[in-house]
Symmetry: D4
Subunit: 248 residues, 8 copies
């Protein structure tokens, strides 16, 4: 699919080193392997410049460990999100250098310590209960080579707390804001800065919070124009987008 | 139903002025009249200390005028909300002293100009498009004998605009906050003051605002504890509750 | 942010006691401390006249105890809502004078026993299963210095039960009504009295009750104008609003 | 399908008057005719003891008139619900004895004036705006041979209005209750009587009424056990069910 | 509230046996007792001709037993729905004659064995998984003095199964139809008979059944006019309504 | 993308008729043209064996006509669905042989009259108001070369009407069933036959039909296993799928 | 119900071998038996050409085993879906030849190994977590006599993975596509082939996936016209429909 | 609020040029003006580096023109979105140099023609009907100083159309993807590139598209990690975020 290799392929055909049929077959040969239950795509690293990530929820410890170990054979960092301690035990048996971050519920194998991001990514969260989601964002952003600063417990009902952190906010190149309940924090943060804000609704709250729906709708309707939104509790996704922006 | 009258009724029975059957019949005689299509309840004034109000939407101009005129025969103020100019024309033919407030879409007959509220009611709104709802609240609160101040166009994405009005906010005894889109303003206002905040979600916004649902859910999930909520676009209801609080 | 201190600050600058930079820094110095996982805001007491409250759900016993103990170092009452017995055990180890109210699922430290509310707050609930929410409201309102009376098990399908309590209802300055299922009780209560009614939908019911959604919608659409609504099961919020109103 | 005719059919076969094939064909011959766009089923009268009814909404005046005229060729009453004046003009050209009831939006051809219902059907409605739905129920119930009494404008926020009609309510054999907004009226009525209550949610209300959804959910969750529910605005259906009950 | 007693009360006043104040107080004295956590209303029996019923879900075994025993002190049948075996054990310790019906999850005390219903109530259910709801309806209807017949496992995808039971269906005076999934069975049954059909959506199904919502909406939109609907899984409510109809 | 052409392409490279770069460029050359506002893909005919179809809703008459005319330059049939008479006038000016089918709201250009389907496609609809959707299915299926039979007005509340058409149903190779309201018809039809049933929910109904949502959920939860579902009112899609099945 | 038997029946009547009444009775005798809790319909095999299937979820092991054993007395294959290992143990005690397929959560008794399907059914799934649903489809399709090929882990965010399997896709006669999250895979697959695609939304995903609702809506709105949809997680239903199509 | 000015302010106080009270007052003086109905905030330009934008929907032509003219007095570009031709006429009377872009429904005043973005922004849309939203994004992005390329009509059901544009896609620094119906396009685009993708759900589609909800949910659940989402039809918001990213 990449022009250079194609030109090379055609050159080999012209030079008689490959028959037409062999060339077609080779075109078909795409770079992924079959583990039986999941096709691991190492080329995604090339395509997107980011490590493969395992979404562990709903997978058995053995499945998580199997995929993790396979990915660890290649270079680069490996991350398993939504991982339990049980899943970590299975992973660590196969990949002893992996670490578990309980707050973020993440298994991490960090080998590439280069700084890819040009500036700082701020991760802001509204309440104590939003911390797991915010930590998932922090761990992910760090693993993807960003300088990260956290600002925790700065809900909109105590606006002076947030204003006290204005200095940090204006220094960030991208800001991730995690909030449950009414999901108002991204709007306020968005109004204070001139950089992209990635909003993460969290499933924190009760009653009419409807597992994050209220926060999600709030963020989608933000009156601040620099806000875009990812899925409920998706700290990983927010950090992934923020990392891409920070590399621009 | 009121003990004093009951005691008097029993006294009449005892005195032989009323037979038992007549007394039972009288107990049944409740104070409302039959207009054919709507029973107007003048005692509500006594019961709740507020004028009768007509919700005009979905009623014909003739129906609105009929009810309005009937209510105008008694003392006190009369208010018709969600009224069109057509409905006003029908009302004004019967009740020439009535006035139309186009921004608030209200027909008003103001005769009782006493100040019932002990302090000031602030009405805050987020955007230009929330004004009709906010104005309905303003007109209602004024008609119910309150001193009212409006603070308009102070959305959360420009938090300094709101902070500039902090002086007015802290002087209010009750605050009504009207906001559409993400509905975050009541939380921020609620965090700045120590008085009850009545939140009114408006149907302003588009897409995932879902006709006010996003704002409604946001307000119900407010992280500020001094916030309670009324129905979408219900400026009247918010002012009614605020008036009762302001009379405490 | 408070004018008096600002004037004093400028005076110090003028007097040469503070450099301009020091003054700016001091302006930035806002009154909250960092516990690592949650910024406790003692000034909220000043700002709103109410104690800090901990929402315990989803926090570890250790986290609840940590915040509770810190807040207990200052004066005033402390309240932890949605608390389990496990969380209470952790709190009581650090704050032996704290008490657990199982029906209300609340941990309470009551030191300020002044009566702040001017009148009585009535708490009305529809069914046996609404009691936990109603009790949360009762405990909260008492802790905030109100005289409280409960009226339990007075659903709308037996309207005479409610009418029998009319005497208590008309004596209240504010009324909290907790109801699940169709959520009709606030409308009926609202029609009987001339004071603000705070409606609390509860998640009681089954099938199309949809975890309190039916009651919530019912209350938002109340045909009684003196009703405003808080989140599903939010007995605390209702009592907080009621307390503010009762202090007017 | 009816045993008697089947026995007769077999007897004819046995007697040699019908061949087996003819008998099968006759079994297949079901009693409805083909109008091209709608199969009119006259046997429904026999099966359910009620006239055929035309739901006019979304049909052209010509279509309504065509079906109406066809039905009018047979005996019995004919009813077209949700009919516009345009549709009525088309019907009345073909069936001059038909009448239009504007409040109920119904076209009526009344020829069978017998009283089928054993007792009285009460139709109760909460507000002026619920009248069209209530009137549809009234017209339908009358056409189906019931004695009907209406009690209008008796919302739950003025409970004494409803209690004043208790005499009528306890005389009814079935009660239809139409209400929008919070839909609480059926619960209160249901608690006052010992007869079946058919609840009709109406699409009256605004904001979080969500076109009748709030009322519908409220009624389905009624805490009164004698309440069952029909579709939003379905006055016809309620009267149909009530008529069947009243014939028991 | 009942005219006869009122007349008697007034007579006593007239005769000087009661002072006016005592009479007022007595009017206030309504016939329910206070158990501490639930007001049991014995008069409901008089008012509606049906025994008191306990909804056991969410109540402790002790609470269920307490209410059950109290109700058992009076005459008539007692029913606890949604009861667990644990709750039954607590009840049976206090009321040894009570029985547990596991399929229906009901505790029953049957003392009044009179036949109140004039005809037969048919209970139809679509699938094996609808049986608990259908059995709740059966037990309730029997306890309320009806002759009951069940027709189980007759879903619409095998329409001949249902048609085979047509004989029983046409003999019923009222029919209860329980169905999950698409909830189509009441429409088909409704089309076959000329009696009221009470539809009970069940939470059976998966995926887009959304816990009974699909069935509920299906039934509310039934194209058969003799169908009314109760809450999801509310077998009790259906039987209650059916019993009232069967007594007409 | 098709192996044969690829082999040929490589052969040309080998033979020196094409340079490697030219070959790469040719691989890139995909068979669609640019109309400015819509890329018309003629190869879709080859890929799927069906004509291109224009969804006219929301397009201007000029846009519809432009695309239609372009498609008409090639062979095969052309179909514009959801077309207004205005759109047809614009099309017919450019393509005089096109025809308008008002019931189905379709513009048709039929040139290929071959019979591609192996058997008959039955289109069943429940009520008069479902006809536009059913007709869209009929027109589409005919245009795609199928023999089609319609069975109209056979709702589940009159099950004998449907049973009378059993002969036609069992002869069909695929059945399309259009139904609004409770959407039960596909389940009943599905139970009578052993062929695939394509269910089309229609937006017919009112109140809790929620614009076809009730029917959609009903069909997705069908207890008949041979039913699959397309979007609300999507008669075209159903006919498209049915045509593919009928060609198998 | 089948003409031949009817003709025979009439012939017997004519020949005097059966009385008319006996014939009617025989007509009534439909071919299912009563197990007490579920009517097993062996004729469904004849009617639809497929074995009876047990939906095990929510049934006790004993119930599943009872139905399974009964069905196993007749010829043909038997399938129990959504079965737990506990349920299998109960089944295998009665039917030792039954097998458990843990990935598909299915109990299988395969005796008829004929190939009924004319071509190959491809089962495509997007992610590792969709495998249980896809396997249910695979097991079902195999049991119904189809040749089946699986293509796993080919989500739309790595479109080249899917394209690599194009060869298999174009060989299939029907394609089942299982996908959670955004449910986009059926659209992409549908665009690549000219055969019917049966889309199965899975409940995989989190947050705004809302238990499969996002995928379901995505698939219903597919821009590929050859897609129809079954219920969330309904791998069985998809395979059933695919089998019918593959037999055409 | 900006440290430099604060330091300067304190310096003036120190120098005796300002009293403490004057300094406090000046701190309060925030930079916005009062137009009566909307506070225009010129400083937002400084704060976020972008021009003020008017959301015209629901505003009168006079209101739009008033705000537009006021903003035009200052330097920089002005943009009014969701503008009608009527609104444009009012604006152009006051600001003759403004232009109307009908496809994008935008009024534009372009004076600053500098290129602020570092690279190219690609705007991709799925269908003809998504063009208005896509054009709003294009106009906005151009006005904010970006090089923009559009790729239109590349839906996922014809994946080769999209692949043909891969060259453009990989050259973009940010990509905006507008799609209605199933909203799958951002996932596919996201998988092809390594840059941030801003997804805009459009309200295009019918039936179960539910005014853009299906697309919105699809995009939030994207299996491509580089996707974040803005509100339904919010082309402006997407371009705003993209512009900020492109300036990094």
């Amino acid at each position: 699919m990449d022009p250079a290799s194609l030109v090379k392929l055609f050159a080999q055909v012209k030079a008689g080193k490959l028959s037409a049929d062999e060339a077609v077959a080779r075109l078909r040969h795409l770079p992924f392997e079959d583990l039986g239950f999941a096709k691991v795509d190492h080329h995604r690293v090339l395509r997107q410049g980011m490590p493969e990530v395992i979404f562990s929820q709903g997978k058995s410890p053995k499945q998580v460990a199997g995929i993790f170990a396979r990915l660890a054979e290649h270079e680069g960092n490996v991350l398993a999100t939504r991982a339990t301690e049980d899943q970590y035990r299975a992973v660590s048996a196969l990949v002893p250098k992996s670490e578990y971050r309980p707050l973020a519920r993440a298994i991490v194998l960090k080998r590439d310590r280069r700084r890819y991001g040009k500036g700082m990514v701020a991760v802001v969260s509204a309440g104590t209960s939003d911390i797991p989601v915010a930590e998932e964002a922090v761990v992910t952003a760090e693993l993807m080579g960003n300088s990260v600063q956290h600002i925790y417990d700065v809900g909109v009902a105590g606006i002076h707390r947030l204003l006290a952190h204005r200095g940090t906010l204006v220094k960030a190149r991208v800001i991730i804001v995690c909030a449950g309940m009414e999901g108002a924090l991204p709007s306020v943060v968005g109004g204070l800065v001139g950089v992209p804000v990635i909003a993460v609704p969290t499933s924190v709250g009760y009653g009419a919070a409807f597992e994050g729906l209220a926060a999600l709708l709030g963020m989608l309707n933000s009156c601040a124009s620099n806000v875009s939104v990812v899925n409920i509790d998706n700290g990983f996704g927010a950090a992934y987008v923020a990392s891409l922006i920070n590399r621009r």
